[in-house]
């Protein structure tokens, strides 16, 4: 769409184009591949700890974790109870669920029966999360939201086995555009609310929050005690976090600031990964922002470079 034609459209028509002009499912496929890859890594890192996390004699008895569980979502002990008449123990039931989850994630990653794979991964993840709720942290929240979106959005309509075998069309679609907008708006809700909630806290206002975080043995990957002698560095980092998160809602949309905000957001998550050791959480957040806002910029930059590489040789010889 040219800028002249865009200017001639009414606000309603521009809104309609914003949510329904057919677009490629590329960003959604990047989202699918990134989420499935990270969750497979997570499953691998937790494989040896299933008995502690979900077992009958785990570290959190089901009588305790039930108090925090959703009554609308089944739990592992309910699934195990349903399987008990078949002679399947709770431990075997948990292992079976874990295997099913991993198989579904592999299907999701490769785009094999994408919708079915996503639905299975989402349902099993929800059941496991509702059972191991005492162990859950941020990455679980985003995995849960992401798997639901993978189940309902056309995430298999690009870079997938389903497209290469003709099961799904890879053509641009209005559904892909609407889905991308939902993902983008949801990210703005996430960053905006977490940024505002932080900004209301005294330790974020006085700029000392990152001192309190990085000095915790659980998070601090290095000895950060030296920060006490350069408090301005702590203040700068603390307030920069607020700027990135609160500013995300506004600055991620205009083309002129989008690239900068994507880079700043990815940089912030890289910092969280390196300094706090939260690699999976940071990876998940980076995947979400890169897929929703960064992929199209990246793909455009790549194709511009490719075009330049083709055109430039003809311009490099003045004699022609």
């Amino acid at each position: 769409m040219t800028s002249n034609s865009a200017a001639s459209l009414s606000a309603g028509q521009r809104l309609a184009a914003f949510i329904s002009a057919p677009s490629s499912a590329g960003p959604l496929a990047v989202f699918r591949i990134g989420v499935a890859s990270l969750l497979l890594v997570q499953a691998w890192t937790l494989a040896d700890s299933l008995p502690e996390l979900f077992g009958e004699r785990g570290l959190v008895p089901s009588s305790v974790s039930r108090s925090m569980a959703s009554p609308w979502v089944p739990r592992v002990d309910a699934v195990a109870g349903a399987l008990a008449p078949l002679g399947i123990s709770q431990a075997a039931g948990v292992q079976g669920l874990a295997v099913l989850y991993v198989v579904a994630l592999v299907g999701l990653l490769l785009g094999i029966r994408t919708r079915l794979s996503a639905v299975v991964a989402w349902v099993v993840h929800t059941v496991l999360m509702n059972s191991g709720n005492f162990f859950a942290y941020g990455v679980e929240t985003f995995a849960h939201i992401s798997l639901f979106y993978c189940a309902v959005m056309p995430v298999g309509a690009a870079f997938s086995h389903d497209v290469s075998t003709g099961r799904l069309s890879g053509a641009p679609s209005a559904a892909a555009t609407l889905s991308l907008r939902v993902l983008q708006v949801h990210l703005c809700i996430i960053y905006g609310t977490t940024g505002v909630e932080k900004a209301l806290g005294p330790v974020w206002q006085d700029g000392t929050a990152l001192w309190e975080v990085l000095m915790q043995p659980q998070y601090g990957q290095f000895d950060f005690a030296w920060l006490a002698s350069v408090p301005w560095v702590v203040k700068l980092a603390t307030w920069s976090t607020l700027v990135v998160e609160v500013g995300y809602v506004v600055c991620i949309w205009p083309r002129s600031t989008r690239g900068l905000w994507v880079l700043m957001t990815l940089g912030m998550h890289l910092g969280i990964a390196v300094m706090m050791g939260l690699w999976l959480f940071s990876g998940m957040m980076a995947v979400l922002t890169f897929a929703a806002f960064g992929w199209n910029l990246f793909a455009e930059a790549l194709s511009a470079r490719a075009r330049a590489a083709v055109v430039l040789p003809f311009h490099s010889h003045p004699a022609r």
């Binding site: 700890s49 570290l59 305790v64 609308w72 929800t126 932080k198 209301l200």
Partner: protein, 176 residues
């Protein structure tokens, strides 16, 4: 170029808007769902299945103090040893930390400590007694740290559990 909304796409857009409104309410901790008793369970179920009820209060509005748990075990002949919940995998350790943060919920403390003691008796079959000790980190301000103040672990919870005499029906049982 104009893109008229088809009825199907219009319906999907309406559902998407409702989903995002629900997500915004969840993120803002706004209880919008108490309007009618008939609809509430369905909306809550939907929100919990889809993640629309999720909040995102990471380190907000404040930073929870660090906590750690350790176990002191005593064998039948009085020998002592220490253990903890440190694992080789950082992904597991992050989860242990999440569990410890929730230990501060008053209703679940004793039951959690009992389950941890049982886990320790499982790891150390020779142990007869285990002391569960949870500590919270008291962190000095940057200014106090420059003046020589140091982070300090303080007791937040302590309980002693003894192994019951094993019987066929209570091999893993513990008593506080």
């Amino acid at each position: 170029m104009r893109y008229p909304l088809s009825p199907w796409h219009g319906l999907l857009t309406g559902l998407a808007v409702l989903h995002l409104l629900l997500s915004a309410a969840g993120a803002l901790h706004v209880p919008l769902l108490k309007a009618t008793d008939a609809v509430t369970p369905w909306v809550q179920g939907y929100a919990q299945w889809t993640g629309a009820s999720s909040g995102f209060s990471f380190f907000a509005p404040g930073v929870s103090p660090a906590t750690r748990v350790s176990f002191e075990l005593e064998g039948a002949s009085g020998e002592r040893l220490r253990d903890d919940f440190q694992y080789d995998s950082s992904a597991v350790n992050v989860r242990m930390h999440s569990m410890l943060l929730r230990f501060m919920l008053p209703d679940s403390r004793d039951a959690l400590a009992q389950a941890w003691a049982a886990a320790m008796f499982g790891r150390h079959p020779e142990a007869r007694k285990v002391t569960v000790r949870v500590e919270a980190l008291r962190l000095p301000s940057m200014e106090a740290h420059r003046g020589g103040g140091q982070p300090e672990w303080t007791d937040a919870y302590r309980a002693v559990f003894e192994r019951r005499i094993p019987t066929p029906s209570s091999v893993h049982a513990v008593t506080p």
